[in-house]
Amino acid sequence: MRDPRRLAAVVIAPLLLAGCGPSGAGSRTSASGTSLTWGVTTEPQCFDPHRSTQQNAFIIIRNYVDSLISKKPDGTFAPWLATRWKISKGGTVYTFRLRDDVTFSDGTRFDAKAAKANLDYVADPANAADAASLLVNYQRGTTPDPHTLRVELKKPDSSLLESFSSVKLGFLSPAALKKGDTLCDASPSLVGTGPFTIDGYTRGQSVRFRKNPRYDWPPGYSEHRGPAYLNTVTYRFLPEYSTRAGALSSGQVDAIEGVQPLDVPLFEDAKGFQYRTGPSRQTSFTLNVNYTRGPGADIRVRRALRDGADLDAVVKAVYRGTVSRAWSNIGPDNSDYDASLKGSWGNDPEKANRLLDEAGWTGRDSDGYRTKRGKRLTLEVGYPQPYVRDNRDVLIEALQAELRQNIGLDLDLKINTAGEFTDQKAHGTWTVYPNTLNPLDAGMELRQVLGSTEFLYGNVRGYDRKLDGMIHRALATTDLDKRRPLLARIQRRAVDRAYIVPLFAPHYQIAATDKVHGLGFETQLDSPANNYAIRVGR
């Protein structure tokens, strides 16, 4: 299917859009000024903040869900539904002072009881809420008075403020929580405190939001006060790249996210349009190499994989310069990114070949791959189909071609199912797993992909104990200034020992007509922010 798609995109799209685009200009729909229509890549499978797992669901959920605190672009935290907070000396008790003027859109007051009910709900394993992983250290919540929430932890957890700023721990009304299993449906009874409320949903097509006229409690970083400018916001689910781009250029939608490299010139510096890229604080798209199995257990093979190709050129070729290659698995815009890694590795085929010779992979088979005792040097990349997106498979294929040519290593891309990967994960038999994670605290991100108890290495024997110890120390250190050097050391060790091969730093691309004002990105999600501060008009 990929070939016709690319053919259509390459041959037809620029031609037709260049030729016919302007004729659609008269039919723009955004003139009313009080409504906005987005074309988005993904339809949320679940609209419940606590249960959703898709990053692209959160950009939609954010419209009706607020959090306890907010995260500023510089990585520090600002008030939101909590006006101030205090952390106990030992780092195990967090006390939040809550605003007293906040109501859910069903009229219920937001108070300490409602906040605690949400935390208890998420932390209860019986509810199987995805967000529970953010509350692994949650002991209990107490409510000394209606506007004070005390959170007691089992042990110090430096990622907790980040978690409280996350939409995943955003608040639903206690009445909505009682609906339990049906919460995934985007019905108007899914109630939060956000600037918009759910107004209508057609599965497979769109979800519509209406302004909450009483809203007056924006996050601390917001310059706008009072209710949102827009009356309604509609998200149309348009999974196909060319369809989204065409819908925007013909004025059938006002803004889109997920602009493919090919379509960027249609909107960037184009009359009547704007194009913006968001920050990249999330995990970079990274090959995680299982360092305990097969050829990948040999550090020389892993380093050869890391340095055997000119990643700059490969990333540039596939993404046409719209994204940058990565140096760490922590995103370059993250305040905990170790910038000293930049330029420290990669593109040294000569050394890579020497390492493979040393490691005994000296034979060659008829296809030109290196062999040892008749066995081909193969590292399988198991990439679950549901996660394959924005040309990431093409990127791996390009890398595969270059590694074969440069060093005779067979990087074998296998698109498998979520089930197959789950199976490999459960038995620790995965070989190379490519992934990114939703933005999390950097310490939490490193724990998720490299920690001994987490989803990748949880069932793998022989993990790096030293690295694991560093991760645990980092997460227990609540002094962010002391924590940062520790996080940098973890990143350096992971890259140096080639446990990870970071590939590129993904970020959101939005394009919109030039009548849309106030488009921005939410630091905590790296994604387009909610539509609170957006205006449409000349």
Binding site: M1, C20, S133
Partner: protein, 327 residues
């Protein structure tokens, strides 16, 4: 029962009664076969889904790990029971109209699938209309005509059948929606938004149908009875429409029945390209997520559609071909 007791009474009307009973028996056999087909389809799907690698609770839990997650999910969904018990439970619930709850969407499958059914049926019927209309026009207009005209039609048919639905959809969108602005992308704006998806899905079918129909028509036009009709002075077009077409239809109807059944596959792609609601996208995500209850519901629905369509095809064949009725 009353029909059976009536059958033993010797009356003057025995002949018609007997044939009515035969028809009833055939209908009952038909329904039984239909149910059997659906059961077999659901069971096969159930077995295949459960033998696919990966435990459902692991998939449901996703990348997150926290103590008790798998167990809680398994208990919540009843996945901790033996597969056979789950299967029997599923079969038991079916006649009660309970299709279960989607793992991924956490909503009753009946409402998920129910909501998506009408848009897909709409698209399928419109596409079938496009296909049949175009095929009839082209085949009747070109069968047995001058060689260049037939060659042109053949090329057009070949192009139509071999164009990927994906590409065709984007092409039509580019020209008629984004470029000329004739048809909106919004699926709830009525018939106008149905035109492009229906053409996208219907065109490849039209190509195939038209090929088969023309060949069949050409064979019919060689028949002696056509010479008789012509000798009566009936005009060429009228002759084709009223006499030849009826004889040429049999293979086309069989093919058409199969095609409508196979439209679901095409609908997945068409719905994605046009951002339309429908079963296609729901099915695709359900399969990749191992969302067993949804997949089973779609399989049942597809089996049901096949049963209904093949029955209809048989009936239509009976109506147009008297030879089938004499048995």
């Amino acid at each position: 029962m009353s029909a059976a007791t009536a059958a033993v009474e010797p009356t003057a009307a025995t002949g018609t009664r007997a044939s009515a009973i035969v028809a009833l028996r055939q209908a009952a056999a038909r329904v039984a076969t239909g149910i059997g087909v659906m059961w077999a389809a659901a069971t096969t799907a159930y077995v295949v889904l459960h033998t696919m690698p990966g435990k459902i609770e692991d998939i449901l839990v996703g990348d997150q790990t926290y103590p008790g997650a798998q167990e809680a999910v398994a208990a919540e969904w009843g996945l901790d029971r033996p597969p056979v018990v789950q299967y029997l439970d599923y079969l038991w619930r079916l006649p009660h109209g309970d299709l279960g709850t989607s793992y991924a969407m956490r909503q009753p499958v009946a409402s998920v699938v129910g909501d998506q059914l009408w848009p897909t049926v709409q698209l399928t019927l419109a596409a079938a209309g496009v296909a049949v209309g175009l095929a009839l026009a082209v085949a009747v207009g070109t069968a047995g005509r001058a060689r260049p005209l037939r060659a042109l039609a053949s090329v057009a048919e070949l192009v139509a059948t071999s164009t990927p639905v994906y590409w065709l959809g984007i092409l039509l969108l580019m020209v008629f929606s984004f470029g000329l602005g004739w048809f909106p992308l919004t699926a709830d704006s009525g018939a106008a938004s149905l035109v492009l998806p229906a053409v996208t899905l219907g065109l490849p079918m039209a190509g195939l149908l038209s090929q088969v129909l023309r060949e069949s028509l050409e064979a019919t036009l060689e028949q002696p009875f056509i010479t008789t009709v012509r000798a009566r002075g009936v005009g060429e077009t009228l002759m084709r429409l009223r006499h030849a077409l009826k004889h040429a239809m049999a293979p086309v109807i069989n093919l058409g029945g199969w095609m409508i059944g196979s439209l679901l596959g095409g609908a997945v792609i068409t719905e994605t390209v046009f951002g339309r609601p429908g079963l296609g996208a729901v099915t695709l995500t359900a399969v990749t997520n191992k969302d067993v209850p949804v997949v089973l519901a779609v399989v049942l629905l597809a089996a049901f559609a096949y049963v209904v369509i093949s029955t209809l095809v048989d009936i239509v064949n009976l109506l147009i071909d008297p030879r089938l009725r004499t048995r």
